[in-house]
């Protein structure tokens, strides 16, 4: 017999391929999926191009970005010992977005290879390091959130400023894109750009899972359990920056996934911050893929930004948190 937590996790795991199929059949144009599959990768028929060049990379990007955000959120909450931490809330996403904006609009072209994600990761790392230093070691929830809000607001303002002066006719709209994120018109090029960095970040975070476990006892106890020095926090920060920064560089800042998903997953893994990492990655991937299916099917080419959809899902979750806290449950 599976325990309820494991059962739900197994269900999530099984749901992912189903959601992927749902994503592949969703779109404004009806496509004969079987024919497109059998025609294969290199076919020039429009069905095959739509499947292989448009829908598949977009769906895989949703999975990848969702996994990065979910895992980044879980790692952030684990490292800061705070269930309110989130990559976007603490400025990671806006740091990455600001760096990407500076590069894209003032610097080199879109396909400038590794430079874009690398710079976005650098921006994310700087932002989260700023928050971390501003809040101080072992900071309380309120101080952390305060520092995060301050850094985040400042970076968002810089983003708007940078886009305002960018040599582009679409400044306002571009700001909306970077603040709410989008997966529209993405292809293999963006996916391949993000994959290595997200995988690298994921591996770093996975290697730090025992540190995150030890940290649930506090920094002193974690140090006495052998997780001493700057190595481990730097590893986690770099992992978060790498995964989330690369995701932001190709999809903009998509909020709430990193906050909501670890919350939902924590009871399923018996609050273990180590197992929370991969289960949050799984659930984040599923959540973002479902959100994108919603975007494609119900909003169509108008492209309601995916960040708005995740916020739609995230906000009721907070209502639920408040209600359950008022009923006297643990947050």
């Amino acid at each position: 017999m599976l325990k309820p937590g494991k059962f739900v996790l197994a269900m999530l795991f099984a749901a992912l391929p189903l959601a992927l199929i749902a994503a592949l059949v969703s779109g404004p144009v009806p496509v004969d999926l079987g024919a497109a599959l059998s025609q294969g990768w290199h076919s020039d028929s429009s069905d095959a191009v739509i499947l292989w060049q448009l829908r598949l990379p977009r769906a895989l990007l949703a999975i990848l970005v969702g996994a990065a955000l979910g895992m980044g959120g879980a790692a952030m909450q684990g490292m800061l010992r705070n269930p309110l931490a989130e990559p976007a809330l603490l400025g990671v996403s806006s740091g990455a977005a600001l760096a990407a904006i500076l590069l894209l609009y003032y610097g080199l072209a879109w396909l400038s290879g590794w430079l874009l994600p690398a710079l976005a990761i650098f921006g994310a790392f700087c932002a989260v390091a700023c928050v971390w230093m501003l809040a101080g070691r072992g900071a309380s929830a309120s101080r952390l959130v305060l520092a995060g809000v301050a850094i985040n607001a400042f970076l968002s303002a810089l983003m708007a400023l940078a886009l305002n002066y960018a040599p582009s006719m679409f400044a306002m709209q571009e700001i909306v894109f970077w603040l709410l994120g989008s997966l529209a018109n993405r292809g293999w090029d963006q996916l391949l750009l993000a994959v290595p960095f997200i995988l690298f970040g994921g591996v770093l975070l996975y290697c730090a899972r025992n540190y995150l476990r030890a940290l649930s006892l506090g920094e002193d106890s974690a140090a006495s359990l052998g997780f001493r020095g700057r190595r481990y926090p730097l590893m986690v920060l770099l992992g978060i920056a790498s995964a989330v920064g690369a995701a932001v560089a190709v999809a903009g800042t998509i909020g709430f996934v990193g906050l909501v998903v670890p919350h939902l997953m924590r009871p399923l893994v018996k609050q273990d911050p180590g197992r929370l990492l991969w289960s949050s990655a799984l659930a984040g991937a599923l959540l973002l893929l479902l959100a994108d299916i919603l975007v494609i099917n119900f909003v169509g080419a108008q492209e309601l930004r995916i960040g708005a959809v995740t916020a739609f899902i995230g906000a009721p979750f907070f209502f639920w948190l408040i209600v359950s806290a008022r009923r006297g449950q643990q947050l």
Partner: protein, 286 residues
């Protein structure tokens, strides 16, 4: 994008007639309405017409938007004042002709007219017919400018030719996945060049959205982009998608110049010619 174009069409300019041209026209043609020496414009499109077609020393003022290289193809003369569409700025410059568009800066235009200045409204052009009217109005005001004449004759000739049968299909993919349907100048140009605009066929009136999937599924012979993509913008991502690589590699694309969006008078004739050539090459290739 649309805001920019609207703004572009709204600011009006002024007129000049070069001395040489004036003498020439004395010999060849009826007298121009006047030989203006200090022309001002309150409209972005009229700015561009002045800068491109009129001698620089005769331009007194253009709008501040024309300082932006994004809109300007001709050099900006040094003495030109950049106005923000306020009556008092222009009053001080004492222009002998003020060009305004159909929309925008209307309050300033009325005030200047009340003060006894020579304000001429030039109609905007959203279709080929309106474009001809616009060029006629410009001719009446500015006189027989050579480039203007040339543009007008070229356009007249192309319009006088019988409408060619649609021999190939085309689809416009502009920034933000916008496409142009029935009732747009861009649509008229495609049809005149012998293309079937697939967006109009699918019932798009004026502007519509088209996803990349729909572009691929529609399989147009010619994929038409809109210009102004020198700089990065997420809005242009669709046009850079690898799924369109086939079109780019096989030369089945055409890029409309950005000017077509805010001042078609400058480029419409050339665009029509190029599109016609493109269509002919497709037909020959078959």
């Amino acid at each position: 994008m649309e805001e920019c174009r609207a703004a572009a069409r709204q600011i009006a300019g002024m007129s000049v007639s070069v001395k040489k041209l004036f003498l020439l026209s004395l010999l060849l043609l009826p007298l121009p309405a006047a030989a203006y020496e200090r022309i001002a414009s309150l409209n972005l499109c009229l700015d561009q017409i002045l800068l491109n077609w009129v001698a620089p020393e005769k331009i007194a003022s253009v709008t501040w938007l024309s300082a932006n290289e994004h809109y300007r193809s001709a050099p900006l003369p040094e003495q030109v004042h950049l106005n923000r569409g306020r009556a008092e700025e222009l009053l001080r410059l004492q222009p002998d002709l003020i060009l305004v568009g159909q929309f925008g800066a209307q309050r300033a235009a009325r005030r200047l007219r009340d003060l006894g200045l020579n304000v001429v409204a030039i109609p905007d052009a959203y279709s080929l017919e309106q474009l001809r009217d616009q060029l006629g109005a410009l001719e009446n005001t500015l006189g027989q400018l050579q480039p203007l004449q040339k543009q007008k004759q070229q356009l007249d000739k192309l319009l006088a030719a019988p409408m060619p049968p649609a021999q190939a299909s085309a689809l416009i993919l502009s920034a933000n996945n916008i496409t142009y349907g029935d009732g747009m100048l861009e649509h008229q140009l495609l049809e005149r060049a012998g293309f079937r605009n697939l967006a109009a066929k699918q019932g798009v009136k004026q502007l519509g959205r088209v996803s990349l999937e729909e572009v691929i599924a529609a399989q147009p012979d010619l994929l038409v982009f809109y210009g102004g993509e020198k700089d990065f913008a997420v809005a242009h991502l669709a046009a850079r998608h690898p799924a369109l690589k086939n079109y780019i590699d096989s030369g089945r694309t055409y890029t409309l110049p950005a000017e077509l969006g805010f001042c078609p008078a400058l480029v419409a004739a050339d665009v029509l010619q190029q599109l016609t050539d493109k269509r002919k090459s497709f037909v020959e290739a078959r």
